[in-house]
């Protein structure tokens, strides 16, 4: 007997390729394939190349199932089921090395695919996701059998969403997140050209991938891609050249390293105001709150810094997303986690006073951080509230409302106004600007939305931890 399933809901970010669409149902991730895509899938499924990507987990674990999907009869010939991701992130939330590893994996898969007689329909950074510190290619519908003399259709998209952001960071020390967040298709060659003039033209890859690219693009703007494909094939273009281009681009990606500047967060642990006693008490408190939580599948560590509490939480949780505003700190954490082969802690870059909004078509193609965070079970907000309340003037009631939109269980560390770290922030603001900034006020406000399960002031006397369970 077939069990009853709830009607699958279309994923708002999956509509660009009409031949394939992702749906969600009961926590399952399903994909419909049109007639042509189904034929391509059958070729892929039977290939040794695909088996390899499943074994090394570079392409999301995928199986064919028997399930009806919404749509006009005949829209979907085949249904696939993918292993769900614990938490979806976007390129404007990644650190430089994450972006570099995502680009590396994309090109590596392209090269393997080409060697096996397949190609990839696109080249978008959004087709890559993370399982902890390991990138994964999620768009199985991207692979199709290659046609002779066919260039890689995804090269421009790869440049705009992966290669150019890497160049901006490596060549200009310019964080590309603002551009990626505001332009869903990535950075245009013409924009890059304006940013990388003068001697920067000589920086690795800039002349070809940026200047030549933009100039040839504008000179061929009136020609259809079909006509140019024909001309290229007639001129002798072949798969070997796509492989060579992918290889050359991979070599360039490997060169685009970024040395993060020393930031004050980089040595936060050395300079912060904790004593060893405080630290030990805080760890015990977090542990007991996690043990008491009814569900710990997804934990958000907001203001994760060097990830020490993310690591601690991972011992008691299914998956931890470590959210930190400083890209240099996230990059260091990512590289450590990658070296450890960590698959359950995902570090991301985000300013929590300005979290990722929804983006793309109808502002739903890319989900806002608030939407994605809503499914968290536990939220850790350790030494975060004073940054939002004093540093960014966010009223305490607004912070509590925001926390109530996330994890069912919340663990908050409130740094008193007398604490050296809070005093440092207060020194930049006029006296008496925050009369309500007080632990009692905060606990009272928190108590309006959460049942306070536990409260403890650290031995140092200037930090109070509160654990609460949301009243749903």
């Amino acid at each position: 007997m077939t069990p009853e399933h709830t009607r699958p809901v279309a994923e708002p970010g999956s509509f660009r390729d009409p031949q394939t669409r992702v749906f969600h149902a009961d926590g399952e991730v399903l994909r419909g394939l049109g007639a042509q895509a189904a034929q391509d899938w059958k070729a892929l499924r039977d290939s040794e190349f695909f088996a390899r990507t499943q074994a090394d987990r570079t392409v999301t674990a995928t199986e064919e199932i028997d399930r009806e999907l919404p749509g006009e009869p005949g829209t979907w010939s085949t249904t696939l089921r993918h292993e769900p991701l614990p938490f979806v992130t976007y390129p404007y939330e990644w650190s430089h090395t994450m972006r570099q590893d995502a680009a590396r994996l994309h090109l590596d898969l392209l090269r393997q695919a080409l060697a096996a007689g397949f190609t990839m329909k696109d080249g978008s950074a959004y087709n890559l996701q993370w399982r902890g510190a390991a990138p994964e290619f999620i768009d199985v519908g991207s692979f199709e059998p290659a046609k002779p003399g066919e260039p890689w259709a995804g090269y421009r998209q790869f440049c705009q969403t992966l290669l150019y952001p890497l160049m901006l960071q490596a060549h200009l020390d310019l964080d590309p997140r603002a551009l990626l967040r505001s332009q869903i298709d990535g950075v245009e060659p013409a924009q890059m050209r304006r940013l990388l003039g003068g001697t920067k033209r000589l920086a690795a890859g800039v002349l070809k991938h940026v200047h030549l690219h933009d100039s040839i693009q504008s000179r061929n703007a009136d020609r259809s891609t079909g006509a140019v494909r024909d001309q290229l094939r007639d001129a002798g273009f072949n798969t070997e050249l796509v492989i060579a281009a992918a290889k050359a681009t991979a070599k360039l990606v490997a060169k685009l390293d970024w040395a993060p500047p020393a930031t004050h967060w980089g040595d936060y642990r050395e300079t912060c105001s904790y004593s060893e006693d405080d630290r030990a008490a805080k760890q015990r408190f977090v542990d007991s709150a996690l043990e008491a939580a009814d569900k710990t599948d997804l934990v958000l560590d907001l203001g994760a810094n060097d990830g020490v509490f993310s690591r601690q939480a991972a011992a008691k949780a299914g998956y931890v997303v470590a959210v930190e505003a400083d890209p240099a700190v996230v990059d260091t954490l990512y590289r450590q986690l990658r070296a450890e082969g960590e698959k359950r802690i995902l570090p991301i870059v985000m300013d929590l006073a300005d979290p990722s909004p929804g983006g793309g078509w109808a502002s739903h193609e890319r989900a806002s951080f608030a939407d994605r965070a809503a499914k968290a079970d536990v939220t850790l907000a350790l030494a975060l509230v004073h940054h939002l309340a004093i540093g960014r003037n966010v009223p305490l009631p607004a912070i509590v409302d925001w926390l109530a939109g996330m994890g069912h269980t919340v663990v908050v560390e409130f740094v008193h106004a007398e604490d050296p770290m809070a005093r440092k922030l207060l020194a930049n603001k006029p006296d008496g600007l925050f009369p309500d900034y007080h632990v009692e006020t905060f606990v009272r406000l928190l108590g309006e939305r959460f049942d306070i399960a536990k409260r403890e002031t650290l031995p140092g006397g200037t930090r109070t931890l509160v654990a609460g369970v949301r009243r749903d």
């Binding site: 390729d17 009409p18 020609r223 140019v228 060579a244 281009a245 681009t249």
Partner: protein, 72 residues
Amino acid sequence: MESHLAYLDAGSGSLIVQALVAGTAGVVVAAKLYWRRVTGMFRRKTPAEATVGTTAAPVETATPAAATADKD
């Protein structure tokens, strides 16, 4: 021939750059493509082609119809 257009607009210029990124062999292909475009401009047109593009457009502003006419 079966249509080989992707769902994604690959960008006609981006396709040519790809050849240049591929190295020497790719540069040869791109050079050949441009050479054919130039020689195609001066090639005597068949009556069928002549009715499609009556004026000889310069290379940079060639219409898609004129571009396909480069093919032998």
